[in-house]
């Protein structure tokens, strides 16, 4: 049975911290979302996202700090937003469902939101089915 393969880039300061809080509070979410902790969402390059899709990811989720002022590195989240927005336009034009790539602002205290977003996203990916990667 196909299980979605989802890569989640969480920024260390906000989404990553929220993930830890979610752990401490024993909340539950879909295990097919594999977290990679990055210093800032500003570090996530479009190449990393596309590399994930090419290597079998069915969905890529990015969690960062709320705009306009929460980013520990001041404006990394804005850079991430702009790059991901343009990348989604590119995917959409090429006929790849843009919903497979999602960026969310999750502050360190919003563990509940993190769990909701992760579960929602994995549900979306289940609905969309495999991207067509190796294990399809």
């Amino acid at each position: 049975m196909w299980r979605p393969r989802i890569v989640a880039f969480f920024c260390k300061w906000c989404a990553g911290a929220a993930a830890e809080v979610a752990g401490v509070s024993r909340m539950h979410y879909d295990p097919s979302v594999i977290p990679i902790i990055v210093p800032c969402t500003g570090r996530v390059s479009p190449e990393m996202v596309m590399h994930a899709f090419l290597n079998g990811a069915d969905g890529v989720l990015i969690g960062g700090c709320h705009t306009p002022n929460d980013c520990h590195y001041i404006a990394g989240n804005f850079k991430a937003f702009k790059r991901i927005y343009m990348l989604r336009k590119l995917l959409q034009q090429a006929g790849i469902e843009p919903e497979r790539l999602r960026i969310e602002w999750i502050s360190a205290t919003e563990a509940v939101k993190l769990v909701r977003v992760v579960n929602e996203f994995s549900e979306t990916i289940r609905r969309l089915g495999p991207l067509g990667g190796k294990h399809a």
């Binding site: 295990p31 570090r43 996530v44 790059r83």
Partner: protein
């Protein structure tokens, strides 16, 4: 490459859901891994020794620890690794507890996820290199923002350690809210007697430079080298020449509400907030001064200069202490209590001014509206505080200063009656409970457990009628009082502009967030920026003083050492591949990249290692140390390879 992977059971926290044995088995198959083992509690002493032993025996050159969250034990294992002679940058820690075992039920999926998380760490570790800590010199000077008791204490503590201090205060004098108080609990010693000597010492101390009527306009740079711009508004009076004779005040035609006395009386356009003000000189309120020039004529020493301009002071400091203090929650927001001087419903600071001998009533117990002597007084606690519609938190100090107010009132008016409407009396400090008991029993203050529902002025008798409910006697209660004092909640006085300039984190009430209440209570997330006093949260004077000394001590730890060591995980440029296209310098939020001979170079002091430039560089010439592009791609492949 000889890598070691250590997987922790954390009792059953991890082993309960993750099949640790299988994880270790899979780890051994990962590229470069020569050793993998699991242990029940890696963070324990035997656990740590196990790792150190493995490093030495297997001569490992890289370690991955898969256990709890790095925010908990990254440092612990870093020290173990360094103890075993390996660089801390050849060590990665990943959480398979908070991010995996604790959040999943399906054992098989959790195990698979743990393996992938470890595989990513191993892939990253393969590319990690050692870097020496970055040493940067530190300017031995401290900036203290806010001249209240917290700011004064921090400045003095630092100066006494030989650290030059720049003290910036928004109002014409230092002293802050404490200067307004009459006596302080629980010792009832007079506030001025504690404060004014400290203020004098600050004024005299050669290492402390005070700027009043001043605000921090801009802060750039980073820890050890903050470039600060301070805007000083014109005082209108030359401090050294003012003899405090007061002739100018007498002739000044302008009358405006006196903010030091919280509007209970008026003051002139040229005034001194209170006699022991530091700097001890008059100041001109340029907002209301009509420049009629009468004061100029009468000033014996020609100290007044109405043409003074505001000026900007630039300075470089090594650290910053935020001591911006608090304000009371605006009484108008709690409309049902009819807050207002003419209604004889005042706030606690106003009552402090009535109590104070320098106050508008010279210490006599007379009402602010009509001067009628106060025979019966009602104190209402938790006004705004512990209220979801206003301030959900408890402001901590109101129960104590209300008990003090009631006690002092009964001393002044032995036959007077004092009532206190409260929810719970919170007197948790040393000698606090006894102090409240003294007020209740010796001074006969009536404590009524219940909320006040309505307050109105009886037009005929002039009484302030307070209708409330007594929970203990389970009956309504109506008190016709002369005066009502509201214990309004505490809110931070810091403004949004300063928060953004300093890039510090604040909570939803604008109290400055400390990094960790226990681990780093007086530090903010921005290295080199500390916080003390009410700016960090509601607290009383003794706590503010203790916290200010702590903040000064932490700052001294940084400033006295003369250099700071900085995490070397910053961006790095491969100068051959850089084409000087200027894209990285245009997006760096810290201006940490400069161009020399047409190619980019990273300023070690400024770069915070966020990596935004590395993802924008068109040819990948700038890379984040130990988070290079090829490492990131390898991590992604490791996470996604099909088991």
């Amino acid at each position: 490459m000889r890598l070691g992977v250590f997987v922790c059971h954390c009792g059953v926290n991890i082993a309960g859901t993750v099949n640790v044995k299988k994880v270790v088995e899979e780890a051994l198959k990962m590229p470069g891994v020569v050793h993998a083992e699991d242990y029940i509690y890696l963070c324990s002493q035997p656990g740590q020794e196990l790792i150190a032993k493995a490093i030495k025996e297997k001569s490992l050159d890289g370690v991955v620890v898969a256990a709890c969250a790095p925010s908990l034990h990254y440092e612990t294992f870093a020290k173990v690794v360094e103890g075993a002679g390996l660089s801390r940058y050849r060590y990665e820690m990943v959480s398979i507890r908070e991010l995996d075992s604790w959040v999943h039920i399906d054992k098989e999926a959790a195990t698979d996820k743990a393996i992938r998380i470890i595989a990513a760490a191993v892939a990253k570790l393969a590319g990690d290199r050692h870097y020496d800590m970055i040493k940067m010199n530190v300017v031995k000077k401290l900036l203290v923002i806010g001249g209240g008791i917290a700011g004064i204490t921090a400045a003095l503590t630092a100066a006494r350690m030989g650290i030059p201090v720049v003290l910036v205060e928004k109002s014409p004098t230092i002293g802050g809210k404490m200067a307004m108080l009459s006596e302080t609990f629980p010792t009832l010693d007079c506030a001025q007697c504690i404060l004014t000597p400290l203020m004098a010492e600050v004024a005299r101390h050669p290492l402390i430079k005070i700027y009043t009527l001043a605000e921090v306009e801009d802060v750039t740079g980073s820890v050890g080298n903050f470039r600060v711009r301070i805007r000083v508004r014109p005082r209108g009076v030359k401090v050294e020449d003012c003899r405090l004779c007061g002739f100018c005040e007498r002739v000044c035609p302008v009358q405006v509400p006196n903010e030091f006395n919280r509007g209970l009386n008026k003051r002139k356009a040229i005034y001194i907030p209170f006699p022991q003000a530091i700097p001890s000189a008059y100041a001109v309120d340029f907002e209301h001064c009509t420049k009629c020039g009468l004061c100029l004529k009468v000033c014996p020493t020609k100290a007044i200069d109405l043409e003074m301009r505001s000026e900007v002071i630039e300075d470089v400091v090594g650290a910053i202490v935020i001591a911006t203090g608090y304000d009371l929650y605006p009484g108008s927001k709690v409309s049902e209590y009819r807050y207002g001087i003419q209604n004889d419903v005042i706030d606690s600071l106003q009552f402090e001014r009535i109590l104070s001998v320098q106050g508008p009533t010279r210490g006599e117990m007379r009402r602010p509206s009509d001067g009628r002597p106060i025979k019966r007084i009602v104190f209402i606690q938790c006004v705004g505080s512990r209220d979801v519609n206003h301030l959900p938190y408890c402001s901590k100090v109101c129960c104590m200063y209300t008990a003090k107010h009631a006690l002092l009132f009964k001393e002044r008016v032995p036959d007077g009656e004092a009532y206190v409407f409260y929810i719970d009396v919170r007197a948790s400090g040393k000698g606090f409970e006894e102090f409240v008991k003294r007020a209740q029993e010796e001074a006969g203050v009536q404590y009524i457990k219940g909320r006040v529902s309505r307050i109105y002025k009886d037009r005929v008798t002039g009484d302030v009628v307070v209708e409330g409910f007594d929970l203990l006697l389970n009956r309504e209660i109506v008190i016709k009082a002369d005066l009502v004092v509201l214990a309004l909640g505490m809110v931070p006085a810091i403004d949004r502009g300063l928060v953004e300039k300093l890039k510090i984190a604040v909570d939803q009430y604008m109290f400055v967030s400390e990094v960790h209440p226990k681990l780093r209570p007086v530090e903010t997330a921005v290295p080199g920026v500390f916080v003390a006093g009410a700016a960090q949260g509601p607290k009383d004077i003794p706590e503010s003083i203790a916290q200010s000394m702590a903040a000064a001590a932490k700052a001294a730890e940084l400033l006295l050492r003369g250099y700071i060591e900085k995490e070397p995980i910053i961006a790095e440029v491969d100068r051959d591949r850089c084409n000087g296209c200027r894209i990285c310098i245009s997006i760096c939020p810290y201006d940490a990249i400069e161009l020399s001979e047409g190619r980019a170079v990273v300023n070690e002091a400024k770069c915070e290692g966020c990596g935004a430039c590395t993802a924008a560089c068109p040819v990948g010439a700038i890379q984040l140390r130990n988070y290079r592009n090829e490492q990131a791609l390898k991590m992604i492949e490791a996470v996604l390879t099909v088991r």
